[in-house]
């Protein structure tokens, strides 16, 4: 469904991007730049969908963050909009009222949640409970595995 990408952006800064079609870094950068410009130029009350090259862009703004998906022509715009919302809900639930900083500092978690929710651009699991259960299980594994470390080591001074 989401055949191209899903990304999160803030004032032109990409916080998270996920590509579901193989493209070179150069192409990715170009597309990202183009998209950021296009979307930031849109006014608040405008429609959430727009045609872009041969794709459709579906985007939504949450506070300072824009979430944006590029989907193919025959894909359903409204359900894509709700994909975005469900993802935001997942982040919100996991971090507890998510803000941009959460995504910056825990970007890897944001990726893990995304992978549990969407895989290869298609919805894998739409139940909020099931997605969070999977992530929390992984966190548990993590805590068990981690041995306590000295503060110095943590800061990276060793």
């Amino acid at each position: 469904m989401l055949n191209s990408k899903k990304s999160l952006r803030f004032l032109g800064k990409l916080r998270l991007q996920k590509w579901y079609v193989p493209l070179s870094d150069k192409e990715r950068k170009k597309i990202s730049r183009d998209l950021v410009q296009t979307i930031l130029a849109r006014k608040p009350k405008m429609c959430s969908f727009l045609e872009w090259r041969d794709l459709k862009i579906v985007y939504k703004r949450y506070a300072s963050l824009y979430f944006c998906c590029a989907v193919e022509d025959q894909d359903n715009e409204l359900i894509t909009l709700e994909i975005i919302h469900r993802y935001v809900e997942l982040l919100d639930k996991y971090f507890g009222s998510v803000c941009e900083l959460d995504i910056i500092f825990n970007f890897e978690k944001a990726y893990f949640i995304l992978d549990e929710f969407l895989l290869g651009g298609e919805a894998q699991e739409t139940s909020k409970k099931n997605v969070l259960k999977a992530i929390e299980q992984a966190d548990l594994l993590q805590e068990e595995a981690e041995a306590p470390r000295s503060v110095l080591e943590e800061i990276g001074l060793t």
């Binding site: 469904m1 990409l14 998270l16 991007q17 579901y20 193989p22 070179s24 870094d25 192409e27 009350k45 405008m46 429609c47 959430s48 969908f49 025959q74 359903n76 715009e77 409204l78 359900i79 909009l81 709700e82 919302h85 996991y94 971090f95 507890g96 803000c99 959460d102 910056i104 500092f105 825990n106 970007f107 890897e108 978690k109 990726y111 893990f112 992978d115 895989l119 290869g120 298609e122 919805a123 894998q124 699991e125 739409t126 139940s127 909020k128 409970k129 099931n130 999977a134 299980q137 992984a138 966190d139 594994l141 993590q142 805590e143 595995a145 981690e146 503060v151 943590e154 800061i155 990276g156």
Partner: protein
């Protein structure tokens, strides 16, 4: 710092991120990053005993740096090491790094695959999921090769955990998209389809994406999914909003799954089974009914999810296009949305209605909303919504409302956004032409178009109006009068002047009774003088086009001038209004057009195939042209002018552009008026680079063409017949294996091939010569007719997108089953700027490619030669040398043919003798060749003897073209 830090916080990472955020300037940030990169590099290089945690932390930092937009060129090995860690958290970061950073063609893939293999067989579901996610994220061909056979097993195994199944399904989908040839469902098909019945909704949600994709490609194998999908949909639609627990989204039961089920059904025609169909219709009705119910929540998520299903259901109804009742209901529902306060819904309703407008059942129902749509066009604030409204007006237009719609679009054009003006202009032009009842309305409309949006009226549009006027004598007088009046306006757009010049030039005589108008003459002169003064110099391409215009209006002015001579009064007026220079120009005898003359001749020489203009035709044209211009009294100037206008070429204008765009635009366009053919040819082969840049014309034709088949069947995409020059191209490759097979303005196709025994491999390189992306790029290789059992050609599919300037490669595997005479066909289709390009070439696979050279002594040769003495085993041709008779060249060609060139065999040292065996799957065909040049007569005698008679004949034909 984040409010919540779950799991392990990597403090070193957090500190680094804070540092970056605190950087005041871009330079400071780069400095900090470089410092960190140096640190990580030294850690990775120096301390060999780096523990898992540190490795993870540094890899994570690298990832962060990469995500900031910096290039990362190391750390991949460390990430791969993390994959084999036993600790989940390290493994997870390793996989994340790989997924984000590793390009699908990296050399690391083999190492990664190893780690993935271990995790897949670990039976630990969390590890398995990580591995599957990684495959789905990278999805390279190497991965498909390694895992495509394993994953279906995991997907359908009874003991696989649900979460693993979900990942496996989507992982397989990704591999299928990358390498469909490697994912073979075969025995798994039925079990995969039955995943639609799985108890776990998440499994169904994931599996259905896979099933939909597979169904699109192999509808027959998967058709059992239809009834399963209908019953699943029916259960969801009729369930109460709480039945599905966490799969209910804002009171809407399983919206994602519902949409996907409806999408899957769109891969198939309506169910044949009455009961299944009844159930489905019931579902669709329920969905339409629910749209009328009061919302269960005020949240936008509720209405979005509900309407997502509704729009998908409407898509299915439109897809079936067989239930008038549902179609009309859908239309009414969309009609309500047209006035909804949500911009998104208005947008989607306009878009969806566009497709409804093309159904015969709902076309009328759509038309009832015309006022609302016109209003949307005028009042919507968002340009993308207005664009949809314009599209819908275009789609709902027919004879009954054309005048209203065209008028509205014209008035919208005055304030329309610049970004959509050009498209609007095209649409207006097309509608005006398509639904013109009286052509005076058409002429008025186009002139209005030029008046309102002259800058956006492309040449194609104004050429077209001239073309139509030429073809219809009932409108010529009106057109002449109208442009005459239009040109009296205080300011005229350049395009108006051009049209005016043309039409007056051609039909000015029809309005001779009108009072002489100074302003018209002035405007024509002022516009035309600059280019007419460069007539005798070497005009460039652009000014050449102006010349054509000038020539037309000149002829009118000359006509006028004759009238003027008859009346002193007018003459005086002319002298008054026309400034000295232009006046001189008009009264001057028109200089001949050396450039044009020669360009026609050059073209004549170039075109030797069928459809070329014969000299007599051209002369006929001249004579006609002369008459057209009102008699031959004017001597040289008439002749010159005539040659400029009357290159009557019967072929459709599309071919003149040198690009085989499929554009059956209707008879009128094909039988292009001589004038236009002439002008188009300027943009065509004579100036190929310009034609490529100038894709507006193609687009115009594409839109025209689309509009002509909009209501009827979808556009036919049958492969085009082979190019006329395909055989010539084929001949080029008889004695060589590499080179450029084909080239036009858009595309270049290069070939490399190698043959061994009866097998061959051919690499095709498709290069996009333009700066625009080719979409839906597909190639098909076929063996027509009797070639089918003789030759086996297998091709791997190519990427559907070819970026501007990019080149893609395709590999063909060729197997020669038995001897053959025909060549396989290569059909290439792609969309360039919206227009479908369709071209067919012959692939240079000829029987001689399967030659094995055979060395033999003179005695053996003649012994065998005698053995092959039956008349049908021999083929002989005597022909004139067409390439000179250089010994080395001939030798190279014979070697290229694939046979062994035998020395000291023929008693006459001038003669060439070759021997070889053609390897086919079934048998070997021995071949002997003798080529006797006669330098004096510049002739050759070529004799072939083969153990199979057809082979001699074919080889003889092929070779005779080579020398």
């Amino acid at each position: 710092m984040p409010a919540v830090s779950k799991g392990d916080g990597m403090r070193g990472l957090a500190v680094f991120i804070s540092d970056i955020r605190n950087c005041k300037s871009k330079e400071a940030e780069i400095k900090r990053i470089n410092k960190e990169l140096a640190n990580i590099r030294s850690k990775f290089k120096g301390d060999k005993a780096l523990d898992g945690y540190s490795k993870k932390k540094y890899v994570c930092k690298l990832l962060f740096i990469f995500l900031l937009g910096h290039d990362i060129d190391f750390g991949h090995m460390e990430a791969v090491n993390l994959l084999s860690s036993n600790k989940y958290t390290e493994k997870q970061i390793g996989y994340l790094f790989i997924s984000v950073l590793v390009n699908s063609n990296s050399e690391l893939i083999r190492l990664i695959n190893n780690a993935i293999k271990n995790d897949l067989s670990s039976r630990n579901p969390t590890f398995m999921c990580l591995a599957l996610h990684c495959i789905a994220n990278v999805g390279s061909r190497e991965m498909a090769e390694a895992f495509a056979s394993e994953i279906p097993r995991i997907l359908v195994a009874g003991d696989t955990m649900d979460s693993v199944k979900q990942s496996a399904a989507l992982c397989l989908l990704r591999l299928y998209k990358t390498s469909p040839d490697l994912v073979l469902m075969g025995e798994w098909t039925s079990r995969v389809v039955h995943l639609l019945n799985d108890q776990h909704m998440g499994v169904v949600t994931a599996a259905i994406s896979l099933i939909t994709c597979l169904s699109q490609k192999n509808p027959d194998e998967f058709k059992t999914c239809v009834s399963l999908a209908v019953s699943r949909l029916s259960r969801i639609v009729s369930s109460a909003s709480t039945d599905l627990q966490d799969y209910t989204y804002y009171f809407v039961p399983a919206p994602w799954l519902s949409c996907k089920l409806l999408r899957l059904l769109q891969c198939y025609p309506p169910p044949e089974d009455g009961a299944v169909k009844g159930r489905l219709v019931e579902c669709l009705e329920t969905i339409l009914n629910k749209a009328q119910e009061p919302p269960k929540s005020k949240k936008v998520q509720h209405s979005n999810a509900k309407n997502a299903i509704l729009f998908e259901a409407i898509s299915l109804i439109i897809h079936y296009d067989s239930e008038p009742n549902l179609l009309v209901r859908a239309c009414n529902q969309l009609g309500q949305f047209l006035q909804h306060r949500e911009t998104n819904l208005r947008y989607l309703a306009l878009e969806s209605m566009c497709t409804l407008a093309s159904s015969e059942f709902s076309h009328e129902a759509v038309k009832t909303h015309i006022e609302t749509v016109i209003n949307a066009l005028k009042t919507e604030r968002d340009v993308s919504v207005r664009q949809r409204a314009a599209d819908l007006l275009y789609a709902m237009c027919d004879r009954s409302n054309a005048k209203q719609i065209v008028a509205e679009m014209l008035s919208y054009l005055e304030t329309a956004d610049y970004s959509i003006r050009e498209e609007m202009v095209l649409k207006v032009a097309i509608l005006a032409e398509k639904y013109a009842v009286d052509y005076s309305w058409y002429v008025d409309t186009i002139l209005n178009l030029i008046r309102i949006a002259g800058d956006y009226v492309s040449e194609e549009v104004w050429y077209r109006v001239i073309q139509i006027v030429i073809n219809r004598d009932d409108v010529q007088g009106y057109a002449a009068k109208t442009v005459f009046e239009a040109l009296q306006a205080p300011a005229c757009h350049e395009n108006m002047v051009k049209v005016g010049g043309y039409i007056l030039g051609e039909f000015g005589n029809l309005i001779a009774e009108l009072p002489f108008s100074g302003p018209v003459v002035t405007v024509l002169f002022c516009h035309l003088a600059p280019c007419s003064s460069t007539f005798s110099q070497r005009p460039r391409r652009l000014s050449k086009r102006c010349c054509a215009v000038t020539a037309r209006s000149m002829s009118w002015l000359v006509h006028l001038q004759q009238t003027v001579h008859n009346s002193d009064q007018y003459y005086v007026q002319t002298s008054e209004v026309v400034s000295p220079v232009p006046q001189a120009t008009v009264l001057e005898e028109m200089p001949p057009f050396p450039e044009r003359e020669s360009s026609i001749l050059a073209k004549l020489k170039k075109k030797k195939g069928p459809g070329a203009v014969s000299v007599t035709e051209l002369e006929d044209g001249k004579r006609e042209g002369g008459e057209l211009n009102g008699g031959g009294e004017r001597g040289p100037e008439t002749a010159a002018m005539a040659s400029c206008v009357s290159q009557s070429t019967p072929s459709p204008s599309a071919d003149l552009l040198g690009i085989r765009s499929v554009a059956p635009v209707g008879a009128s366009l094909s039988s292009a008026g001589s004038l236009l053919v002439d002008v188009f040819s300027e943009a065509g082969p004579a100036a190929p680079s310009a034609a490529v840049n100038d894709d507006g014309f193609l687009r115009y034709k594409a839109v025209l063409w689309l509009s002509s088949c909009k209501v009827s069947a979808p556009p036919s995409e049958d492969p085009a017949p082979p190019l006329s020059e395909a055989d010539e191209l084929l001949d080029k490759f008889v004695c060589k294996n590499n080179g450029v097979l084909f080239e036009n303005q858009l595309l270049q196709i290069g070939i490399k091939s190698e043959y061994r025994q009866n097998l061959g491999r051919m690499y095709l390189f498709y290069g996009n010569k333009t700066s625009v992306q080719f979409a839906s790029f597909t190639t098909t290789v076929s063996c027509p007719g009797e070639l089918q059992p003789q030759l086996n050609v297998q091709s791997k599919p190519v990427e559907p997108l070819v970026e501007g300037g990019a080149q893609i490669q395709q590999v063909l595997n060729i197997e020669c089953i038995t001897d053959f005479s025909e060549a396989p066909l290569l059909n290439i289709k792609f969309r360039y700027g919206g227009a479908l390009q369709n071209l067919t070439l012959k692939l240079p696979v000829t029987i001689n490619k399967f030659f094995q050279p055979t060395e033999m002594a003179s005695q053996d040769f003649f012994q065998r030669w005698k053995q092959l003495s039956q008349p049908q085993q021999e083929a002989q041709k005597i022909f004139k040398a067409s390439h000179g008779m250089d010994t080395e060249v001939i030798k190279a060609k014979l070697l290229g043919l694939g046979m062994a060139l035998l020395d000291n065999v023929d008693p006459n040292p001038e003669n060439y003798v070759c021997a070889g065996v053609i390897q086919t799957k079934g048998q070997q065909v021995g071949c002997l060749l003798r080529l006797e040049p006669n330098a004096q007569a510049q002739m050759y005698r070529l004799t072939l003897r083969c153990s199979k008679d057809l082979v001699s004949r074919r080889l003889c034909e092929l070779l005779a073209q080579q020398f």
